[in-house]
Amino acid sequence: METALTPAMFQVLLALGDGEKHGYAILKEVEEQTDGDVRLSTGTLYAIIKRLLIEGAIQECRHRPPVEEDDQRRRYYRLTAGGRQVAIEEAERMERLIATAREKHFLKRLKPA
């Protein structure tokens, strides 16, 4: 990635983690996966989509859902292999961060399963 991955961009990548989605679906997914904490506007979302497209983290996908579920005005995006890698690296970085935070007692230790 040429530019730094912002939290909102990461959320978009995560939203696409379980399959291709169109714009409104991404907005909904981000809202749901953050319990309504992060609400992206269309402007912000498409600025992010543009960035991610340029970086090659996502791509528009050609095959569309069955006609009865589709709307011609929508476009669908999916994660590329590179994009998934970026998201994984970001998640791992966060995991390490969390681990450090636990060691320093910022968070409670996880009980052994």
């Binding site: 714009g23 907005l27 506007s41 979302l45 989509i49 543009k50 476009r75």
Partner: protein
């Protein structure tokens, strides 16, 4: 109802999307609308949810749109820089020509701003006027004022709040260690207050200083104080010996433009031995002062004029002896600003016009280069436009490119302008005292920036306008090489025509100046200036005044001493010398010619006077035409005799012999005999026609003003030797000015020379840019018609025909440009009339010469790409398709 509401909100959303860059909207607009539609459809019921959606949407657009614009700009700049690097030679030419254009304009606009536009650096400068006393019927425009006249105007006027007098004289200033000549401004009390000028050190003159018999005091000019007193802060109170009196410095003036003379020191009228003489004060005909006034608030120059005219008509009635009816004496005010800048205005405006032309040509060139480069990228542009890359995007790209070019050029231009400004200041200083106000300032930078923006917009929109129209055409046609861009071909043609026309204008301007200058240079000055040294010699005149025997002896001693120096061929004492910068205007007297009674209403003959010792004519190489020159025996013991010049001889005696005739300079009280006629001399400048000249014998006038010496070697080499010799005779002598007459002659041509040089540089620049433009266009055409030319060659077209075809295309444009340039030059060169000497503004030789030069340069510019066309390999040309 519901659908209508939806359309309204959709329309509003679409409006908001306009805040995004064109391309972004093109890429994502419809999708965003769709997403928003879905958001709206699923929004929780209730006003709050809807409000929240709008709020978040608007805030999101307002934060992301500027960022998108910025990133696009960054991308455009990067792309533009890459394109510029890729076409380095094009870029260099565009930037350099633009920089020269912007630089030249910036420099000249700085000068014009300081000299013509800015208010005078005096308090309420627009209220200041200079009074001109004129004798309309005698053709005299600037007669000085006498003391009784000044008193009349001061007492009787109702429109001036102040009326102050001024004259300038040269005096010897003696300090402990040396003697120097200073130019002293003699002013009445309140002079500096009228201008709103306050001394930066010490105090101004007071009414007490101006009273008869008051102790003599001096104010120093800023420049004199800096240069001769090294800016000594303790200067107030220092004393100088001048005119056999002690003068005390009371203050130092700030740096302000001084007019009519740049004076070293100022003194009150009481300190000037001439002005304070009771005879001067009483004599209405003893005129030597200039008058400056400040108009009362709300008074116009017109109003002031009628006020003063009333006073002068009253004076003419009351003193018929002082103002003969046939003279038509009156007084009129001229605004000081106009007075200060009248000499510079025409030249500066012509230079501005020339610089403007260069900028326009450079601008056309940049537009042309951009167009040419776009043609090279035609395929890419057509494709991008077809794919919906957006015309807006392309326009943006073009403007970014030309803006970067413009800004780089502006930076270079300002550098160029600040480097050349000194040259321009020196030039302007010859024309107006306001030259000192010229400086590199914020206005200059602002102007350069504005010029850069303007050129970017002009160049950018010219190319954008045409690219926009024909991209679609190019796509429809398929064959981009030959027919795409009909419009653009026209645009480029028009640009080339403009370049040729403007270049023609500039070349004609420069050509006229050049012709005028060469005429001026070839004027016979009437003397042989080579190896003649002229020295201004200022004796401490108070020592010799009223002591004729002493004055005669010192003159003889000086001449003997100079003549005994090695290398001196001839030497003479004279009151002044030709083209003496301190004697412009000369010493004139009305002359009565015996046997030619002056008729009623006729202008009394005025003759310029000079007193010279016998060898003056030999030293200067002035030919004797009839009679004899002065001899040693023409001294104060015998009756006075005079010599006249050829013009005077023709003027008064036509075919008769003037030798032995008599003239009078005191209305017939004394008559003096003409003993010889000598050749005409251009006394006051090569462009001035010779007037009537009379020479008096130095031994009879005893005037000593300068010494002229003809030497066997280069004049200035023995200058120091001469200086020493003069000081040995009288160490209290100042020799402020030593120059060769050749230098004096060249100096008199300095302004036309600089003007010629500047216009010449501009014209050469224009010619080069235009030639480059024409050549570039043709090269491009050849490139675009590569396969057509290839086919023609393959089909057996003769090289001569091909050459002619391409040359015809180029030269047709040049011909149209020449015709337009010719027509506009016919009209515009009239504005240069005052700058030309013996050359008509529509001088056919100049016009023809310029046409030939420009035509030849254009032909050469066309020939180079044309020849390249002939060398095209038809096979390769066809394969390239």
């Amino acid at each position: 109802m519901e659908t209508q509401k939806q359309t309204l909100s959709e329309r509003f959303y679409r409006g908001l999307l306009r805040l995004f860059p064109f391309d972004f909207r093109g890429d994502f607009g419809p999708e965003m609308e769709q997403a928003f539609r879905e958001q709206r459809a699923h929004v929780q019921a209730g006003k709050i949810g809807l409000f929240r959606l709008w709020w978040e949407t608007i805030a999101g657009i307002f934060t992301t749109a500027p960022a998108e614009h910025l990133s696009m700009l960054r991308q455009d700049v990067r792309y533009a820089l890459r394109m510029m690097r890729k076409n380095l030679s094009y870029t260099a030419v565009a930037v350099l020509t633009l920089a020269l254009g912007i630089g030249a304009n910036t420099a000249i606009v700085s000068v014009i701003n300081a000299v013509l536009l800015k208010p005078l650096p005096y308090q309420q400068g627009d209220q200041l006027v200079m009074l001109h006393q004129r004798a309309d019927k005698l053709g005299l425009a600037n007669i000085p004022y006498s003391v009784p006249e000044i008193q009349d105007y001061r007492q009787q006027n109702s429109t001036l709040s102040d009326l102050v007098e001024y004259h300038s004289m040269q005096f010897m200033l003696l300090s402990k260690d040396d003697a120097s000549r200073v130019r002293a401004g003699v002013v009445s009390d309140g002079f500096f207050g009228t201008f709103g000028v306050k001394p930066i050190l010490g105090r101004d003159f007071t009414p007490a200083d101006d009273r008869q018999g008051a102790p003599a005091v001096l104010l120093l000019s800023y420049e004199y104080w800096k240069k001769h007193e090294r800016g000594d802060p303790g200067i107030v109170g220092k004393t100088f010996q001048m005119n056999d009196r002690e003068h005390t410095v009371i203050g130092v003036l700030p740096p302000v433009p001084q007019y009519p003379n740049e004076n070293d020191v100022y003194m009150p009228t009481s300190a000037c031995p001439f002005r304070s003489n009771p005879k001067t004060i009483a004599n209405r005909n003893n005129r030597m002062m200039s008058l400056f006034g400040r108009m009362k608030p709300g008074v116009s120059v017109e109003h002031c004029k009628s006020d003063l005219a009333l006073i002068s008509s009253r004076m003419v009635q009351q003193h018929p002896d002082a103002y003969p009816k046939e003279a038509g004496v009156n007084t009129a005010p001229v605004s000081l600003r106009q007075e200060l800048t009248k000499g510079a205005t025409p030249m500066l405006l012509v230079l501005l016009g020339a610089a403007g032309c260069v900028l326009l040509i450079a601008c056309a060139n940049v537009a042309n280069l951009t167009l040419a480069r776009m043609a090279g990228r035609e395929r890419e542009l057509v494709l991008r436009s077809a794919l919906g890359a957006g015309k807006g995007r392309l326009l943006r790209q073009l403007f970014t490119e030309s803006l970067i070019l413009g800004l780089v050029a502006a930076v270079l231009g300002v550098l160029f302008a600040s480097q050349t400004l000194k040259l321009l200041v020196d030039f302007t200083a010859r024309l107006t005292p306001r030259a000192r106000e010229i400086q590199v300032d914020g206005y200059m930078l602002l102007f350069a920036l504005a010029a850069a923006l303007l050129t970017s917009i002009v160049a950018g929109s010219v190319s954008a306008l045409y690219s926009r129209q024909d991209l679609a055409a190019g796509l429809k046609d398929g064959n981009m090489h030959s027919t795409a861009g009909e419009h653009r071909v026209h645009a480029r043609d028009i640009l080339v025509i403009c370049q040729v026309a403007f270049s023609f204008l500039l070349l004609v301007g420069a050509g006229l100046m050049l012709r005028s200058f060469s005429k001026l240079r070839n004027v016979d000055p009437g003397f042989v200036p080579q190896r003649v040294l002229a020295m201004t010699v200022d004796l401490n005149w108070s020592k010799y005044m009223n002591k004729p025997e002493l004055a005669r002896r010192i003159a003889n001693q000086l001449l003997d001493k100079i003549q005994s120096q090695p290398g001196v061929l001839a030497a003479a004492i004279s009151s002044s010398y030709p083209m003496d910068p301190d004697n412009l205007g000369g010493w004139n007297r009305t002359m009565l010619v015996e046997g030619h009674p002056q008729r009623e209403g006729q202008k009394p003959p005025l003759s310029s006077m000079r007193s010279v010792s016998p060898d003056y004519f030999k030293a200067l190489g002035i030919p004797l035409i009839a009679g004899r020159v002065f001899t040693e025996s023409d001294d104060d013991k015998v009756p006075e005799v005079v010599l006249i010049n050829r013009t005077a001889a023709r003027h008064y005696w036509r075919d008769e012999d003037p030798i032995g005739r008599r003239v009078s300079f005191d209305q017939g009280k004394h008559w003096v005999k003409v003993v010889g006629v000598v050749g005409d001399v251009k006394e006051f400048g090569l462009d001035q026609p010779p007037g009537d000249e009379t020479y008096l014998a130095q031994a009879q006038t005893r005037a000593i003003g300068s010494i002229v010496v003809r030497t066997s070697q280069d004049g200035l080499n023995i200058a120091n030797q001469m200086r020493r010799a003069i000081l040995e005779v009288d160490p209290q002598t100042a020799i402020p000015n030593v120059e060769t007459l050749e230098h004096a002659r060249n100096a008199s041509m300095a302004s036309p020379r600089v003007m010629t040089d500047l216009l010449g540089i501009f014209a050469a620049l224009a010619l080069a840019i235009a030639a480059f433009g024409i050549g570039g266009i043709l090269a491009l055409t050849v490139n675009q018609r590569l396969n057509e030319i290839g086919i023609r060659i393959a089909l057996g077209a003769k090289p001569g025909d091909l050459l002619a075809m391409i040359l015809r295309q180029g030269m047709t444009l040049v011909g149209i440009g020449l015709a337009i340039g010719l027509a506009s030059a016919m009209g515009l060169t009239r504005l240069m009339k005052t700058l030309l000497f013996e050359v008509q503004p529509t001088d056919p030789i100049t016009f023809a010469g310029v046409s030939v030069v420009l035509g030849a340069a254009a032909l050469l510019a066309c020939y180079i790409p044309a020849r390249r066309a002939l060398r095209i390999d038809p096979l390769r040309a066809l394969r390239s398709e």
